[in-house]
């Protein structure tokens, strides 16, 4: 079955340090992968996506993600964390099945950036 996993419920990082939020996936065929962020009391916002092409994808707010086909991973990264990056992050994958598709979201990782 198609799935996406975010193995860490919470990630703590000091301001100014690099951050990584992990995501692994399991799909048949070529994966379409996405990262979204949910700030407190606000809806989810799109950060970046991988459809095809360059394995390193750059997105909003200085975030980037690396698609690794052999490790079936799509980890979100940022070179220098800001306190304002503290939020809930969701990885998502397109699940294509029986001629239609849906998007499967991970359970989310709460990022806490400490001043």
């Amino acid at each position: 079955a198609q799935s996406v996993a975010q193995p860490e419920d919470q990630v703590n990082v000091a301001e100014g340090n690099p951050l990584t939020v992990k995501c692994t996936y399991s799909v048949s065929g070529n994966p379409y992968l996405f990262w979204y962020v949910q700030y407190p009391n606000r809806g989810l916002q799109f950060l970046l996506k991988y459809i095809t092409g360059d394995n390193l994808v750059k997105g909003s707010y200085g975030f980037e993600a690396e698609f690794n086909k052999s490790q079936t991973s799509f980890h979100l990264k940022k070179p220098s964390a800001l306190v304002s990056d503290s939020a809930l992050y969701f990885c998502a994958v397109r699940d294509w099945n029986s001629g239609t598709y849906k998007y499967i979201f991970g359970t989310g990782t709460r990022l806490k950036v400490l001043a």
Binding site: Y36, G43, L44, F46, W96, T100, F105
Partner: protein, 113 residues
């Protein structure tokens, strides 16, 4: 450009009642998705509408249903409400073809007493 809007913001119902939630997509978007975000469970896919048709549904019972109108707005109906239906219901819209990112509304918080 106006974003995805949802109404109402909050909805309180009792067990057995019906709830209707509404969503207006971004202008030009024909696809509307509904998700349930219960505490600690992430986003669970409910329904996908495109061009007025239901294209896919998640693993939810038939009492969760909806429709999409000619102007691409959508409503989600939940019949025979149960306590465990209490959650944040998110609507998202996108362009029609696969691979486009979704734009989310602020959600409707449904509380079932």
């Amino acid at each position: 450009e106006a974003g995805v809007t949802q109404s109402p913001t909050h909805l309180i119902k009792t067990r057995g009642q019906q709830a209707t939630l509404r969503c207006s997509p971004i202008s030009g978007h024909t696809s509307v998705y509904w998700y349930q975000q219960a505490l600690g469970l992430g986003l669970q896919f409910l329904l996908w509408y495109d061009e007025g048709e239901e294209r896919n549904r998640g693993n939810f019972p038939p009492r969760f249903s909806g429709r999409q109108f000619p102007n691409y707005s959508s409503e989600l109906n939940v019949n025979a409400l149960e306590l465990e239906d209490s959650a944040l219901y998110l609507c998202a819209s996108s362009l029609s073809t696969s691979g486009h990112e979704q734009f989310f509304g602020p959600g409707t918080r449904l509380t079932v007493l």
